[in-house]
């Protein structure tokens, strides 16, 4: 790619910024097939993100904590508002909902193992709860989705929390999708579908519409589970300020806000890249809504969408989140897109690091597949161990930054610890542009 680019530059050929190579390829693909592009992964375009924020470490005016010696708490309790049994997680990094169907049973088991090893929670997905997953997850959040595939009161009562999914950052306003290649016998049975259909799940819940109905729905879920477990509401980040207010009003214990960079198993590319707002822009909206209602920290806020390292965790928390959730990064820790499968990725027209055709079910790494031979490549114990390591690193990195800011609890991080590298980030995150006291959205 770069060789031919160099050559083109030398010969004076110039690529159009508007019609670049990827754009032209997509136009040709659309012209040949007549159907929109479907893929997995999250948004690939660059959007303002946590990289555009920096921490102001302590010096003279602030007092740092000693690394290793002075404690920095990472434990968080979720669901303190109404549930008799809130969830206590040892690290504020949780595993986001990803369905069995999109992922292999081994991958789901590995997620459970990794999360349990560090004392955090994992989440089911659009396809029900598998025994492997329940068995290996000490804290399991059960998703309640529009499709209600595999939904049943027994699993509901086995869950440690229930997450009512209204939307996902990758596709706010869109339903799930699982194409025929992945609807194997087991997946089909769990979803009560014929084998091999291209399954489109609904984008709206079948038995409630607005926030007033949702309040009654939540009461139903609480009644069925005798008010034991927390109820989360998950929304894709769009009109986050209003959505969070309505979620609190509907009776949520915990609100999950998933930004536009958030991963997905399958949806239209146009959806992934063009709907929703960046994670960083959503958090201040959510926090403002909670604060105005006197509910910040009482209704916990979990944020997801593009969390990759401890700095992202710490920044999300400094902006006011109580915890974060990871999807894509967890899959990469398991082995998704690993260079060791590069030859095989090439055979299916992709490359290690670029693979996003999760919906085709041919993942050489054995993660986003239902093929028994490919699935076997992922050892759930070993992969779970890698995930646990990665989660520990995220936690330690976040602690490092918190201590540097003089905080003995990750949740003591605050917007005042942050500055922005550029005007966009300053406006979205509502923190000053570095070296100034200017917050664009608050003063002119």
């Amino acid at each position: 790619m770069s060789d031919s680019n160099d050559l083109n530059v030398k010969t004076g050929l110039r690529e159009s910024a508007t019609f670049d190579a990827a754009t032209m390829t997509e136009i040709r693909r659309a012209a040949e097939t007549g159907i929109y592009d479907i893929r997995g992964f999250g948004a690939k375009r660059k959007v303002p993100h946590f990289d555009d924020l920096l921490f102001l470490g302590a010096s003279m005016s602030r007092y740092p904590l000693e690394g290793y010696r002075e404690k920095c708490n990472t434990q968080v309790t979720l669901g303190t508002r109404f549930a008799k049994k809130p969830i206590v997680i040892e690290t504020p990094v949780t595993i986001a909902g990803m369905s069995f169907g999109a992922l292999s049973a081994n991958a789901k088991e590995a997620l459970g193992r990794g999360a349990s090893a560090v004392g955090t929670s994992t989440t089911t997905g659009d396809g029900g709860m598998t025994p492997e997953e329940r068995g290996q997850s000490t804290k399991l959040v059960y998703q309640y989705l529009p499709s209600r595939y595999g939904m049943n009161p027994d699993d509901l009562r086995k869950a440690d929390a229930i997450e009512v999914v209204l939307g996902q950052g990758a596709k706010p306003g869109g339903g799930g999708m699982l194409l025929g290649q992945k609807i194997t016998d087991r997946v089909a049975k769990m979803r009560t579908l014929p084998m091999g259909v291209d399954q489109r799940s609904a984008c709206r819940h079948p038995d409630w519409t607005g926030p007033d109905d949702l309040a009654i729905k939540i009461q139903e879920l609480r009644e069925i589970t005798d008010w034991q477990v927390p109820i989360y509401i998950k929304v894709g980040a769009t009109r986050t300020y209003y959505d969070v207010k309505l979620a609190v009003k509907a009776g949520a214990d915990v609100i999950v806000v998933d930004g536009m960079q958030g991963g997905t198993a399958a949806t239209q590319e146009v959806f992934i890249e063009h709907v929703g707002i960046p994670t960083m822009a959503a958090i201040p909206q959510a926090v403002q809504a909670l604060q105005e209602m006197g509910m910040h920290r009482k209704v916990q806020l979990i944020v997801s969408g593009g969390i990759r390292n401890g700095a992202d965790v710490a920044k999300a928390m400094a902006l006011g989140a109580d915890a974060v959730a990871i999807g894509t990064a967890a899959l990469i820790a398991l082995g998704c897109n690993h260079p060791k499968w590069d030859e095989e990725f090439k055979k299916i027209g992709s490359a290690a690091g670029y693979y996003d055709d999760y919906h085709e079910g041919k993942d050489p790494a054995g993660i986003s597949t239902q093929d028994p031979e490919l699935s076997k490549r992922l050892d759930p114990v070993e992969a779970g161990h890698r995930l646990a390591n990665y989660l520990r690193v995220l936690t330690m990195e976040a602690q490092t930054l918190a201590r540097a800011c003089g905080k003995n609890d990750l949740r003591n991080l605050e917007p005042e610890d942050l500055v922005a590298l550029n005007v966009e980030a300053a406006a979205m995150a509502r923190v000053p542009l570095a070296g100034t006291s200017w917050i664009p959205s608050q003063s002119y």
């Binding site: 499709s147 009161p153 139903e220």
Partner: protein, 227 residues
């Protein structure tokens, strides 16, 4: 028989008492009076109880029911017997929208009319409606059967998977991928049995059968207008 009055006992206490029967059944017959449109009455039952609800029930009455036999002696609000797994739920009056939504099993009988989206995303339940059903009924129905003794509203069975639909009266319009199908002997026998179990006096020969054309099961460019 144990009787609760919802005007004097809280919903929580009543549901809790009913749930406690799932581990050890000490009383099979229950009556709830003063329903007065309260929501979530008798949801999450998991025992072969017989529960009579006097008056009108609000949303999600008998939601996620397992094993129990629940009768609403009045009308039922949105999502009656939603996601039912087994047992029976009978509504003596009319039911609002999304009756029997996503239900996996059991029998739901609505003696009067049902509103829009009756049997939406149903996954194995049998629903018998004595009167009419509203628009978008059986939308994305996956399994089970919906019987309508009156008329069906617009877009019946839109994006249908494998649910069977039987309608005696008129159908305003069929939804995408839903077609009329031949009523063979096996279907007549099944319908006879189902009407009997529902206690509805109708002649199965008066019904027409509808099901999925299965043309939308896999993405095809030619079907673009239906997506």
């Amino acid at each position: 028989m144990k009787t609760f009055d919802l005007t004097t006992t809280s919903l929580r206490d009543i549901n809790q008492a009913l749930h406690e029967q799932s581990s050890e059944c000490t009383e099979r017959e229950w009556k709830i009076t003063g329903a007065k449109g309260n929501h979530n009455i008798a949801c999450g039952l998991d025992q072969s109880l017989s529960v009579d609800i006097e008056g009108h029930a609000g949303y999600y009455c008998a939601g996620m029911n397992k094993k129990a036999h629940v009768v609403v002696h009045g009308n039922a609000g949105q999502g009656v017997a939603e996601n039912m797994m087994s047992g029976t739920v009978r509504v003596k009056g009319q039911a609002s929208q999304s009756a029997g939504a996503t239900a996996h099993g059991g029998l739901l009988v609505i003696e009067g009319d049902a509103g829009a989206r009756c049997g939406i995303s149903m996954k194995g339940v049998e629903i018998v409606v004595g009167g009419n059903v509203g628009h978008m009924s059986c939308f994305m129905g996956q399994a089970g059967a919906l019987v309508v003794c009156g008329d069906a509203g617009d877009a019946l069975g839109d994006s249908l998977y494998e649910t069977q639909i039987f309608v005696k009266g008129s159908v305003s319009s069929l939804g995408a991928d839903c077609i009329e199908k031949e009523m063979r002997q096996e279907h007549l026998e099944y319908l006879t049995d189902l009407l009997n179990r529902a206690g509805v006096d109708e002649d199965p020969k008066d019904f027409k059968r509808y099901g999925s054309a299965r043309q939308l099961y896999n993405f095809k460019v030619d079907n673009a207008s239906a997506y």
